[in-house]
């Protein structure tokens, strides 16, 4: 089975424009989640991790969503030495809502079909991917993954599978989403938003914070990257239980973890750290704790990065996987912000202070609406 190496990676977030900038901030305990007063998103102030208003205002040619994608992919291509025009290279885009802000922006909401075909066409996820591919000169048609909050992990694993199948040599996997009135009002309608900074796995957790970011990872099977971190295995499952609530037992996420470990050839005892989804809703964290316990990982150091970045939706799996890559490079597990007192029925080893420990294999998990779960093993 081919080794799939990580060639380059980027996190473009409110905390920084590169993976290194982001991790330096995280080491200092800086959180992107802050009080926000943004009338274009919500009437009342809220907590979220947002870019400064106007960060993308100078560019009339591209929407904010498109600019985030371009910035993140551009940084990895500059450092990776990858040729987008190689016909053995594929671009994979992970997003949930893409350019949905076009419904809310411009004179007369330019994304609405009654206001012209161009805006409506630009709203489709496929057109964002094509724009990005054209911008950098990718020759293959880009692939778009849109599978709720597991999109980012699924996109990385799709890249891994496409390379292992022999179809491509290199995959550039990018994810992004922005915080809009559309998304904010939806999560608010579910009463899923926390009144303060989110508190994954804590007794007092009361919901998520939203966040916006883009992130990119470049994968290759080429032997010149031997020694780099590897994507070793992964799997998706479905709860088959409820479209907006997770499994009551966690068995299905546990099954995804078990399949990931099997593909990676790892026993649970080999896993040094779990980067959980940890949204800080009552039901997600309870389900995830049960699943991690069922998978035999109850004693493994766990964190949720949602307290730093908020829930970045289609970018989350990428952002959090890349933080895990950097965690392994530095053998440093970051504390999980917001956690004080255990609030799940099967207590996990939640990191509350920086943990310096050698890490050979780590696990990333994600779950989302539609009952979807994903798990992925990253190895040295």
């Amino acid at each position: 089975m081919k080794d799939i190496f990580v060639v380059a990676d980027n996190i473009y977030s409110p905390l920084g424009a590169t993976t290194a900038e982001n991790f330096a901030q995280l080491r200092r305990g800086i959180r992107g989640v802050r009080p926000q007063a943004r009338a274009e998103i919500a009437e009342d102030p809220f907590y979220a991790a947002l870019f400064d208003p106007g960060i993308c205002a100078g560019n009339a040619a591209h929407t904010k969503f498109e600019q985030l994608l371009i910035a993140s992919v551009g940084d990895t291509l500059a450092t990776a030495g990858i040729d987008p025009a190689d016909d053995r290279t594929i671009l994979i885009l992970s997003t949930t809502k893409g350019n949905i802000a076009l419904l809310e922006e411009g004179e007369g909401n330019i994304g609405l079909p009654e206001n012209g075909e161009a805006g409506a066409a630009r709203l489709t996820l496929g057109s964002s991917a094509r724009l990005l591919a054209r911008h950098f000169g990718f020759v293959n048609p880009p692939l778009v993954v849109s599978n709720a909050c597991i999109s980012g992990v699924l996109a990385i694993l799709t890249g891994m599978r496409l390379i292992r199948s022999g179809r491509y040599d290199t995959a550039v996997v990018v994810g992004a989403d922005t915080v809009t009135r559309f998304v904010f009002s939806g999560f608010a309608s579910f009463q899923a938003l926390s009144a303060g900074p989110c508190r994954p796995f804590d007794q007092a957790r009361d919901g998520i914070n939203l966040g916006e970011a883009a992130a990119t990872v470049v994968l290759s099977a080429h032997r010149r990257y031997r020694g780099n971190l590897r994507i070793r295995g992964g799997a998706m499952t479905n709860d088959a239980n409820h479209i907006s609530g997770p499994s009551r037992t966690g068995e299905e996420l546990a099954a995804a973890i078990a399949r990931s470990l099997a593909e990676a050839g790892c026993r649970p005892s080999a896993i040094g750290h779990v980067s959980a989804h940890g949204t800080a809703t009552q039901y997600n964290d309870e389900m995830e704790a049960r699943a991690i316990t069922l998978a035999g990982l109850q004693a493994v150091p766990v964190n949720s990065l949602k307290g730093y970045y908020g829930h970045t939706l289609g970018a989350a799996g990428l952002v959090e996987s890349i933080v895990t890559l950097q965690t392994m490079r530095e053998d440093l597990v970051l504390p999980s912000p917001g956690f004080e007192t255990n609030g799940v029925s099967t207590p996990l080893h939640i990191c509350t202070s920086p943990l310096h420990v050698p890490l050979d294999h780590c696990l990333k998990t994600a779950s989302g609406f539609g009952g979807c779960n994903a798990a992925m093993v990253i190895s040295k």
């Binding site: 991917a129 849109s146 599978n147 709720a148 799997a235 479905n238 479209i243």
Partner: protein, 206 residues
């Protein structure tokens, strides 16, 4: 070797199960057509009425697809994968949610502003707990679908896979689902065979 052991195609106000025309509603709008199709399958599944058009369409196609059961089954639900794709994501419901969110943001509507919810609805109905993925293409990509689903079966990630296309935007809609199994018989699971099944006409010709 993998085989297409069942298919269900819904478009142009027609439903074809395994190539056979089973329902035709000329002139019907999408909402009326979906309701007629639900009545045709005769399932008592009240949750159907709460679904958005994309989930209704995919759910109906899965009813038609799985009406005859699995050729090589029974399988554990964890061994059945669902891999779907479309062009317009959840845009049809996105517009509807956007037009109502300023007055009353409805969680029952918001949850459908993700394309993979149709996978969730089909999975709940048929207790499918295996691999799932939703991809966006301008048009159905039979080569990618064959390769992705084939990899799941070849690598033993799944023993059966439901794959295909479910797309809705306003009154434009099409669905084509294929059941693919290893331990069975039927047309070979190829891109050409999927395309031919999708394009069957009244004369039965591709």
């Amino acid at each position: 070797m993998e085989y297409i052991t069942a298919s269900c195609v819904i478009r142009d106000r027609e439903i074809r199960q395994n190539g056979q025309l089973v329902l035709r509603q000329p002139g019907a709008g999408l909402a009326d057509f979906l309701l007629a199709a639900y009545q045709h399958f005769g399932a008592a599944y009240p949750k159907f009425y709460k679904m958005d058009p994309l989930s209704k369409l995919g759910w109906l196609a899965a009813e038609g697809l799985l009406a005859g059961g699995f050729a090589g089954g029974p399988y554990d639900g964890a061994d059945i994968a669902v891999v779907l794709s479309n062009a317009h994501s959840s845009l049809d419901t996105d517009y509807r949610y956007f037009s109502t969110m300023s007055d009353i943001a409805s969680p029952a509507l918001f949850v459908y502003t993700l394309p993979n919810i149709v996978i969730g609805e089909i999975s709940i109905r048929h207790k499918l707990k295996g691999e799932n993925a939703f991809f966006i293409f301008d048009a159905f990509d039979p080569v990618f679908t064959r390769d992705y689903a084939g990899e799941l079966l070849d690598r033993m990630r799944a023993r059966a896979c439901i794959c295909g296309w479910v797309d809705v935007l306003a009154e434009e809609y099409s669905a084509a689902l294929f059941l693919v199994e290893r331990e069975a018989a039927g047309p070979a699971f190829t891109a050409d065979n999927m395309t031919a099944i999708m394009n069957l006409t009244n004369n039965g010709n591709a």
